[in-house]
Each structure stands twice: as structure tokens, then as C-alpha cells.
Amino acid sequence: MLRVLALAVVVLLGIAPEPSQAISIYTGWERHALVGSDIRLSCSFFSWRFVSDDVSFTWIYRPDGSRETVSIAHYAGGEAYTDNKGRFKDRVEFVGNPKRRDGSILIKNLDFSDNGTFTCDAKNPPDIVGRPSSVRLLVFENLPIQAGVITGAIIGVVLGLLVLIVVIYYLMRFLVARRVFSLSVSKHGKKKKEGSQQRQLWTPPPLTCYPLP
């Protein structure tokens, strides 16, 4: 019986499929940047296997309002290749660490024409089945105030002040109660001193001992 079981386990493990499993790619969702600044677009992936030597990253750019895509960066076989003809010529640099599953790129000197969607596609052979992930880049002249930041700040400050006032109120009440307590003790001490002075003028009565029964 045990032998059959062991055989079955071995067989099952043997015929367990060893296919290429899915790879999950992660980038940000949206990035905001100022004109003229640099931005680092991060791309990482998750794969059940170790990072192979044939790992590859590809970055594809699609401008806002256009359907055409163009590749701007590619890493394969241990070499990084960047755009040397298009609009990102000499502006994009591969700064990721593929051995650590990081395929990030750095884009320098942003302009309004760089608004668009950047797609990262990573492959870790034999895990090649994956959905490329996209990050949207928005380039601003000055960064706008996000909705709700000031609202939250005002509400937080006012409620925080309220909590602080309540805490201080109860603390003061507690401290004043203590002070009242210590005041009465010092009064007691003064009374005692006066009492002892009085006693020095007054001879104590003789002690009488009663024998124990």
C-alpha cells in the first residue's frame, strides 16, 4: 500500500507540468513631473523562477492622442539599448538592475511633448507570458495642488487642536487637584511645627506602665 502511494506521488510529480508560468509586471499608474526635470520610471516584475541570463526589458512610448507606439529602450543579453534616433535621443538612460528584477529608465529634461503612456514589457525566459504594464506621464508647468490635500490638512489641524485642548483641559484639572492636595499637606506641616514648639514649653505627663496580663 505504501509502495503504491509512493509510486503514485513520484508519477504525479513526474507528470506535473513544467510550463512557462506567468510573469507579473509592475509599474506606477501615473507620474507627475515638472517641465525641465528628470523622472525615473520604475518597472519590476515577479516571476517564480530565478532571473535568467536572457532577461529582457522593453519600454514603449505612445504619445497622448496618438495610436502609434515607438520603442525607446531595450535591455537584452546583458546590454542596454536606448533611443538614438527619435524624440528621446540622448535623453533616456537605462538605470535598472536586471539581476534584481528592476528595469527602470531615467528620462531627462522633460518637455510638454513627452506627455503620454510608457509601457514596460519584461520577459524572463521561459516565463514570457505576461501583460505589459503602463504608466502615464503628465508634465506640468507648476505642479497643481491635488484635490483634497488642503481640505484634509485643515480638518486634521482643527480636530488635532480640539483633541489637544481637551487633553490640556483634563491635565490642568488633574494637576490643580494635585496642587490642592499638596497645599493641604504643607499647611499640615506648618501646624505641626507650631504644635511642637508649644509642646517644648509643656512638660509631658509621666508614663505609667501597665503590666501585661
Binding site: P144, I145, Q146, A147, G148, V149, I150, T151, G152, A153, I154, I155, V158, L159
Partner: protein
């Protein structure tokens, strides 16, 4: 006595409802095609009815914060009133309740004033939420002062 108590409580609830409606309803400014502020700008085009988020300028966010704070303080004052009703010593004043209610009225006033001054479209009409905010301000002030003079008996 019970009648006065009930009346004050109902008045407080009315003020709270006015504040909630004024804060949540996005109808501070209306025009022929839609309404806008504090949270959404909704307009009807020939294409359909579209709603966008209200502009995230700093003064609108300040008005949002003040209206939310006024609702929070009004609600807290209601809870404080119910608490002090059962726990206050005889002859005591509802100070906590009154302070919170007056603070709520101050916040509504500030919010309404900021909105009135900073509104860009001076040709559009004011919506009902704006009117409710201005109505809620004196009502909540009166409610707060009521609690100041109210005293707990038996």
C-alpha cells in the same frame, strides 16, 4: 420642561440636517445647464449629462473643509447634549454642547463668506445648497446660545 427639551433637540436635528444637505449637495452655484461646487461640476451638453470633479483650487478646498468641520462639530454637540442630559449635575449649564454648536456656526459662516468672496462666476445664480448654508449659520448660532442659557433641572 419635557416640551422645551424636545423642542431644543428637534431644532438641533434640523440644523444638523441643513448642514449635511448643504455640505453634501453639490449645488452651490447653478446656471441654465447645470450646477457646480463644492464637489462636482455637472453640465448637460447636447451630447449628454457630464460630471467632472470640481476644481481643486485652494479656496474651494478650504470651503469643503469648513463645511465638513461644521457638520462634525454639530454632530459632536448633539452627542455631547445627549451625554450631558444624563450626566450633568442639577442646575448645570450645557457648556460643552453650546461651545461645539457655536463653533459649528462659526465654521459655516467662514465657509459661506469664503465662497461668496472667491467665487469666479459673478453672473451665475446661487444654488439651494448655498442658501441652506447661510440659513444654517444663524440657526446654529441661536441653537448654541439656547444651550448656554438652558439649565438642567431635576
Amino acid at each position: 420642561m419635557l416640551l422645551i427639551l424636545l423642542g431644543v433637540l428637534v431644532f438641533h436635528l434640523v440644523v444638523l440636517i441643513l448642514l449635511i444637505v448643504s455640505t453634501a449637495s453639490s449645488t452651490w452655484t447653478v446656471d441654465a445647464t447645470g450646477h457646480t461646487d463644492l464637489w462636482y461640476n455637472c453640465h448637460s451638453d447636447p451630447n449628454g449629462y457630464k460630471c467632472l470633479q470640481a476644481s481643486s483650487e485652494d479656496w474651494i478646498q478650504a470651503v469643503q473643509a469648513l463645511m465638513i468641520l461644521s457638520v462634525v462639530f454639530c454632530f459632536t454637540s448633539l452627542i455631547a447634549f445627549l451625554y450631558q442630559l444624563f450626566r450633568l449635575v442639577k442646575g448645570g449649564h450645557f457648556y460643552f454642547t453650546s461651545i461645539f454648536q457655536i463653533l459649528a456656526s462659526v465654521f459655516v459662516m467662514c465657509g459661506a463668506i469664503i465662497y461668496t468672496v472667491m467665487r469666479p462666476d459673478s453672473d451665475k445664480d446661487y444654488g439651494y445648497a448655498y442658501v441652506l448654508a447661510w440659513v444654517a449659520f444663524p440657526l446654529s448660532l441661536i441653537s448654541g446660545l439656547c444651550y448656554l442659557i438652558l439649565r438642567k433641572k431635576d
